[in-house]
Subunit: 352 residues, 2 copies
């Protein structure tokens, strides 16, 4: 049965990527060896790592501008502590925008390293909007924001100017739209939405911002150590990096960020239009802040829940239960989600 996978992450990946990944587990590059049983120092795998790192900078338009791409481990959660370790000066401070659960987890870790200034929060309305018009303290070493809030279905459409460094957790919308990525000094993202499987974390960092905190940083948490070893300070998560490379190549072949942004806009418009027009549904996020990746909505008449769930299940729709903090439904429509699957969901909403 054809499934329509709306999971929030780990999530849908392109079918051709899954096919190639499956094959590589049996026989990689016609070596008569599995991808996962060769040395990470072999020419075949070094080539994968270098290709993946180069594709990241190419897709983001950040080549030759002093940025490095790293494939690390530990998810965005590890970056929550690596960010202050690498960027917050001894006795310094950082500014955080609180737009949801993940922003909160990030700033909680930063507090272990110094003063954290929460410049604004949308907690007052269960994170259903993105705060605007806040002021970032001039002496903050960096400003941290979460570009897309997977749980609450909100997304930053623009980013503030700041005198310090600009840091962004893009775990759930990286590679989904074009931005001027050179405005950021540090971008990080768990792979398991638009980039690949769970198990690797992308870090894109401007090299000249590093080494200025006066801290003794453990090797594994030090971006400069990973840069000096070309992202292979220790054994990298081989499979996750390979699948990420395949996914990035798929995106490049599709036309890159401008092309995928157009498709993503169409998918989001299709679903949000239905939510707005169908009296049985309502969106949870402020319209101007709606995410093009995670579409959160409620039934206006909750007695219809059983019927709607049944309709969805019969149609092969998977993973649309909302997060417990919001309730209702959440349809995640990441890059690899075909518009046909969104149409199937819309059809069921109409059928209800």
């Amino acid at each position: 049965m054809k499934k329509h996978n709306f999971s929030a992450g780990p999530c849908i990946l392109p079918q051709e990527v899954l096919q190639k990944a499956s094959q590589a587990v049996l026989n990689f590059n016609n070596l008569d060896l599995s991808l996962i049983e060769i040395s990470h120092r072999s020419a075949d795998f070094v080539d994968v790592m270098e290709k993946a790192r180069a594709l990241v900078l190419e897709l983001l338009g950040l080549e030759n501008q002093g940025y490095t791409a790293l494939f690390l481990q530990g998810g965005a959660s590890m970056e929550f502590l690596m960010t202050p370790y690498n960027l917050m000066k001894q006795g310094g401070s950082a500014a955080y925008l609180d737009t949801g659960a993940w922003s909160n987890k990030a700033l909680k870790e930063a507090k272990l390293f110094g003063e954290v200034n929460i410049v604004a929060s949308s907690k007052d309305k269960n994170y259903s909007y993105i705060p605007k018009g806040y002021t970032i303290p001039k002496d903050a070493n960096y400003f941290h924001c979460t570009s897309n809030n997977t749980i609450y279905g909100t997304q930053l459409k623009s980013f503030p100017k700041t005198e310090g460094l600009l840091v962004c957790d893009m775990s759930s919308d990286i590679f989904s739209r074009n931005l001027d990525f050179s405005q950021f000094d540090l971008i990080y993202a768990g792979a398991q939405k638009n980039m690949g499987p769970a198990g690797t974390t992308l870090v894109v960092v401007k090299e000249d911002i590093l080494g200025k905190t006066g801290r003794d940083i453990p090797s594994m948490l030090d971006y400069q150590v990973h840069i000096s070893k070309d992202s292979m300070f220790n054994t990298p998560p081989v499979f996750a990096v390979y699948v990420s490379m395949l996914t990035l190549q798929w995106l490049k072949d599709l036309g890159g960020l401008d092309a995928i942004e157009k498709i993503n806009n169409e998918k989001a418009a299709l679903l949000y239009n239905e939510i707005d027009q169908n009296p049985l549904f309502e969106g949870t996020a402020a319209k101007e802040d709606r995410s093009n990746m995670n579409v959160t909505f409620l039934l206006t008449d909750t007695s219809k829940k059983e019927k709607f769930d049944k309709l969805c299940k019969e149609a092969g729709i998977n993973g649309i239960n909302g997060h417990r903090s919001v309730g209702g439904y959440r349809a995640s429509i990441y890059n690899a989600m075909p518009i046909e699957s969104v149409q199937v969901l819309v059809n069921k909403m109409q059928e209800l």
Copy 2:
């Protein structure tokens, strides 16, 4: 062409594990979804994680003794800093046995947290033996050792008694032999030798040793946080955990640690006997400390190198180049390596 994969790690895995892993990337548990695109909170994946954690304790004979198994990220290198973070008291100290490159990396990270006492080192003879007869300071919070030295081909055959905690990096020989594992308080191991693919790190920890350092530990580095979330504090490396679970199940079906130890002893004896009997070869490690996982040896007449390399290549022998610190050859004969492949190598040594 049939390859004989002697890679030091990532390394050979059982063929049936590779087959199942490849299939799961296409369609996992007949869900019509890939293993790598389902939620890590789905019942299907939670079952994988719990099964993997239970198999670890079962195989090590550590069930119901206060131990927890965790599947984390970052490799043994991340454990080099998590160990002191979680076990070295503020103002405390730790004792380390220096048996090679990895021991050294471990103690280097510990120095960031407090006093490190190197109780003995075999650096004087290029780490070709395991020091014995050393004294562990009574006030050391823990004693750390590396059970198998992948690069130098040495292995600890027994472990010292200590008043503090006993910590062991078993990355390259865990699940290869039976030991009284209850003598250890903390065991860690990167997966990519006997347990699975690169991308996850096994931690087996006695719960009652934790929470006693007086340190503020960042969440991702805190074993207690990971324990409280059943090893799913954040998105785990789904694929690596699944393949580890399959490999652990394969080992259990084979008869567990006693069964594999017998096979590993036979494989090692076959190869070491040839090294000792064939005048063209010599081992590099002290005989009583020889590793049953990584067999390091040199040609006595280096002019034969080209011929031997050619013989090996023609026979499909892969990954036997020695590490640059030792030179010569290193045949890694991990659990999944069939004795037939070791015999092929021995045949080529005889042919030379």
